[in-house]
Subunit: 433 residues, 4 copies
Amino acid sequence: MIPRYTPSDFAQLWSNDARYAAWLEVELAACEAMEGAGLVPVGTAATLRAMGLKLDAARIDEIEQTTRHDVIAFLTHVEELAGPSARWLHRGMTSSDVLDTSFAMLLARACDMLLARFGKLTAALARRADEHRHTVMIGRSHGIHAEPVTFGLVMAGHHAEACRAKARLEAARKEIAVGKLAGAVGTYAHLDPEVERRALASLGLEPETVSTQVVARDRHAALFAALALGATAIERIATNVRHWQRTEVGEAEEKFGKGQKGSSAMPHKRNPILSENLCGLARLVRAAVVPALEDVSLWHERDISHSSVERMIAPDATSTLGFMLDRGARLVDELVVYPERMRANLERTGGLYFSEALLLALVDKGQARQAAYVMVQRNAMKAIEGSGTFRENLERDDQVVKLLGKDGIARCFDLQHALRHVDGIIDRSLKGV
Amino acid sequence: MIPRYTPSDFAQLWSNDARYAAWLEVELAACEAMEGAGLVPVGTAATLRAMGLKLDAARIDEIEQTTRHDVIAFLTHVEELAGPSARWLHRGMTSSDVLDTSFAMLLARACDMLLARFGKLTAALARRADEHRHTVMIGRSHGIHAEPVTFGLVMAGHHAEACRAKARLEAARKEIAVGKLAGAVGTYAHLDPEVERRALASLGLEPETVSTQVVARDRHAALFAALALGATAIERIATNVRHWQRTEVGEAEEKFGKGQKGSSAMPHKRNPILSENLCGLARLVRAAVVPALEDVSLWHERDISHSSVERMIAPDATSTLGFMLDRGARLVDELVVYPERMRANLERTGGLYFSEALLLALVDKGQARQAAYVMVQRNAMKAIEGSGTFRENLERDDQVVKLLGKDGIARCFDLQHALRHVDGIIDRSLKGV
Amino acid sequence: MIPRYTPSDFAQLWSNDARYAAWLEVELAACEAMEGAGLVPVGTAATLRAMGLKLDAARIDEIEQTTRHDVIAFLTHVEELAGPSARWLHRGMTSSDVLDTSFAMLLARACDMLLARFGKLTAALARRADEHRHTVMIGRSHGIHAEPVTFGLVMAGHHAEACRAKARLEAARKEIAVGKLAGAVGTYAHLDPEVERRALASLGLEPETVSTQVVARDRHAALFAALALGATAIERIATNVRHWQRTEVGEAEEKFGKGQKGSSAMPHKRNPILSENLCGLARLVRAAVVPALEDVSLWHERDISHSSVERMIAPDATSTLGFMLDRGARLVDELVVYPERMRANLERTGGLYFSEALLLALVDKGQARQAAYVMVQRNAMKAIEGSGTFRENLERDDQVVKLLGKDGIARCFDLQHALRHVDGIIDRSLKGV
Amino acid sequence: MIPRYTPSDFAQLWSNDARYAAWLEVELAACEAMEGAGLVPVGTAATLRAMGLKLDAARIDEIEQTTRHDVIAFLTHVEELAGPSARWLHRGMTSSDVLDTSFAMLLARACDMLLARFGKLTAALARRADEHRHTVMIGRSHGIHAEPVTFGLVMAGHHAEACRAKARLEAARKEIAVGKLAGAVGTYAHLDPEVERRALASLGLEPETVSTQVVARDRHAALFAALALGATAIERIATNVRHWQRTEVGEAEEKFGKGQKGSSAMPHKRNPILSENLCGLARLVRAAVVPALEDVSLWHERDISHSSVERMIAPDATSTLGFMLDRGARLVDELVVYPERMRANLERTGGLYFSEALLLALVDKGQARQAAYVMVQRNAMKAIEGSGTFRENLERDDQVVKLLGKDGIARCFDLQHALRHVDGIIDRSLKGV
């Protein structure tokens, strides 16, 4: 989590202040639930809330220097601020009850912040898909011209993928929104499942089915996998932008700010640096998946090896994805599209992309596939070698003309026909939101 | 996919025979749907089916030596077998229509085979959880004795995790059961969405929302993440078995076959080799996740870089997980549990694990937490240093006796009370299946 | 290791036959060294060698069904073939003495096979670098035209990287060519360091500094890292080829076999499928690194979790890299280069790539950098907007002409001058072999 | 790089101040070299150095808000401070000349800082190896008792591995200590190889063999692999400590600070939290390897996708390893070893670990291996079943006594003999430093 790639709301979410505030929320929710169960004097939590305690993160860190235990330092500080009523906090609880429950709250919030951003990305993709439904460009497989598509169709494909990524994150959010107030080894030795249920419900969380000392870490690993899939969805958009913007292609480019300089020396340079940056960041988000998986197999009722990993990857991966979604949505929204250049590139091969249409038309007229292939190929090859356009050659090929007629040939060179289903596909994607 | 770690049904699933059979299924389903749309003479597929074509994988490979294109080799072979009616196959389709659709069929079948195995694993875990509900053992955090749990509770925790892994695989199966019959760049230039819908429905698949030349690869990456989470759930079980079986712990061990030799020289050796093997295999399944994520960002309408990756990781990761589930279910099912040894280990610390109960009892009697801690600690420390048991020391401590009475002390040393919620937790997990 | 991506020598190297043959080599080498130390009757190994034992892998596997221990099965089979003299084999040794030592032999051979292939790759790169020293093409940063380079220079860059990859593999080979004959826990309880030293020397190996039951696994992890770096070096070549071959760039392309078909329908298609394939394979080789690292931290004197991992990744990663090197060397060797197309692309921007030369010339004439930048930019921008070429505009710009003179301007447009150091750089790389 | 896991010298190394200071070093070194080549007025660098420029990182960041180009912002700020002489800086250079060269300087320094720490780790391991040469403990394979080793031998094994990790880092340092002053696409269009050579030499760097716009990224990937291997070497130590410290084993434990609390409730808890933390951190360092490998295949003469990755993983991986080495060295240095407990654990199996010695002694007396095995096993099994000790049983077994004599049996139960080579092995490792 370096400032350069951290949106401010994520910086806030993962700050010490937010962390300690979440701990206090957990303690107070637990206290209230215990009041209901008669374990703690009624009104304790209300009294503490009324004090409007202002936690001082620096002070907690200072106490931790002595206690070498962060939750004890926190409780000591709360007692400093609140006096004797604080002693009812943390009753029968273990540190992980606070840590894992508050971590679930923060991760759920991070998911919410990401889901809102996904909404912006899908909206931008939907808008561009709709705008460019009929902006024709050449489809490319292997980087080589294949058959025509539209720019809107490509955007619709990215839209569908972003929607899937969002749905996976929603599922992961549900899995991660799980806390525990089940004590040292998950047996509620000095606690009660009903107290847990109520306290967690007030925090928007479900109870862990079977806790050990901690919430099970497969839930977290599943979240990191969902984050990686989200980042990768953006990487695919960015990769396409990088291709479109290459000098020789020039079909779309990142918005170039006024006064922005591509190079200190070469005034003609406009580089797709946002997209390249997004490709790099995707590698970072992906890199969190394996450590998160390695964290799952804790020994017995838990070891603490996952903790250092999570201190790094939870802020890093969520905030980096947050940054990517912001940048990705803006990239899509502001992408400068060059329909004329698309058209010019499309025309480079003189309609060769209709060769399959001709092949099928000849087969429909009863030709064996292989024979039809030969007829198409000889006319295509001539065109490639520079003699006539593909269509001209076909119109001069007696055998072809005899079978299809000039009208039949013309029908094959029908871009609108080739793209007749594009509107339907785009609608399918946009309705899926 | 090496024989050693490949269940026979997976060997069959990923054989060339099964692969080509799936291709034929796709071609025939497409043919039937085209018949319905009037694109192909009615009855073509039925005629071909009636022939009972026996595909010869070796012959296809031989033809591919010439064509250097696997789908063309396949079609040529079908034509060899079926004669002229075969020419109606593959009409307007691109190779990826066949490849990706049949790949979806095979992956969905692999998921089904894995889901059935997950059922066996969760059943075994549920049975052992129920059987050992009240088999007390010491809970350990950081490898150090903490407070008591039961062996059934631990099994229930693994059960809950395995159920989550299964649910994720079900979700991934749904995402992956998606084919395409949308042509060279996904525009249905010579095809029709309705034909696709019908053909795929007859194969148990949904159509891709927006195809490029291929089905989007984020679906596959999501599947590999689900496989990795499944493998990791088993790794956690295996890690615990390895700990239980250590010479010094000895609380459970892998079933040792009659005539099996742990070591050629040391007759006392019984090694947890199945569990160690499962830990290694989990690393392999996890290793498929990042390549699968790298496959997503294909260039433009597709490049073929994903293909070699999938040829390796799809058979490898699914069959390795299949093997792990078989082995894992048997491991759990046959695990030899030693309740007396668990009890003996539990008693090593002379009831020190009740220290928290005493602490809370003293706090309930009005002692400040810190004062109570000191009272408990002094009696614990004496016991650790070898002078009396913890309980004896407490009963000789006037201050403690005055506050709690001997009865009060006795109540703290109540294992049944400490574990009173265990049944409820186990039921929660077992009902969740 | 699927046949599609496995060179035949690697298929042989990792066959059961080769595996068992290596075991026998180890046993005989150990036997001979023990003869020298008086532990075994002199001549035993010679007698056994003279028998020309023909190991039958299938028979060994059959015996293993009973013994469930591969090394014991092997020894039993040797005894079947050789009779009583076989009982002197394996004296005081543990299975891992045989397994790890023979594994080191096979890995060292795999390295040798890879190093020879690296030699072919670097030779091909060197040849093309030399051939195209002066074949000018535009250099691109961010996919956007920057300043000129030569195709030979690019090849020389790949050559230098391939040489580094080779050197790293040589270092890794040295680390991995290490065996052990140190017994069950590495103490030579029934063996002798001197026997180990001699036996290993005869096998071309060094002894492990400190063995546990096994050779330390950091050595293997270092090897897999070196393999991944080798695969990645080829990926970078392949990525560039894919860019060069794109329809709009067209500067180089993979050799297209006679009769090869790019597409069943589109005769104009020539796809860079070899290069795409290499990019996919690189992902697979990289995927072995993390599991290999996870294998290092075996418990105590060893657990067997590494074994399943190595059974898969050792054959997979080495043979896949072997395949990549073969394919990569041929790709480079046969790459069809289009110097005219390179020249045409270079000229697309009308010499704008000389803008930096002009900037520096103006600064050398005493202009402040910022002022010079403005002078260059205004003439560049006119050209970009379609009014005159860059050079024409400069020659019409009084201020510029006054400072540089027409001759001075001409000197800036000097491709030969811009590339005057290219020969030196290429030589630097080629001499480095 | 979070404060919790960042040694202060790494925090300083990766600060903005150090970054900009390194840029200035590069500019001045380049300036001096250009003076020597007559490209810049002699004395320029000296003049600038004499000014003792105090770079203000905040001011540079402020300027970057406008220029959106960090190197230009830096140069502008230098000009603010130094006036007109600054215009001679950066002559003919591209931003990457500064960025990559200074990055190499920082990485080389990071390597030096790590190498010094490796020295402390290997020294601690050597000291403990020497101290505990003869501290006998049971060796364990698969977590199960095998044959005796000594604690010093185990330390010597870790020592040898740490030395290998150090040597790999030294090799990686050499690879990474490479800069470039070769201009926009590596052709020295406005520069000179000799100027580069001199400037880099004064900075302690070698020139890149063939630059593109940047230094080749395989060098960086090799470094991250070396870092991961270093982290993994520490993980193996930490894993062993975690095993030794388990309640049931208790053979060694982390130093427990005065006043440190293992648990807020359980005074008997002393958890191996440092070691668990080291295991988690190793996962993080390993996670940098794949992104670093993905960074290698930049497009054409470069794209900028590697930049964001390196901004995160370079500080993260180096400082985390730095932290691990500090913590790991202290862990080893202060590890509390319990020889009596080792001896007690060793004796748990009543000398069964000598079974192989007996087997071999019987074979030496002419018994067939299988017959000898049966004799040993029947006496071992009795002992395991609780009837007599292994040795007693052997001494009562007529067949055995007849073959070996009581003396012969006694000789097999000779711990000193079994460990006679340990000193030699330890010396081999310690001399290897």
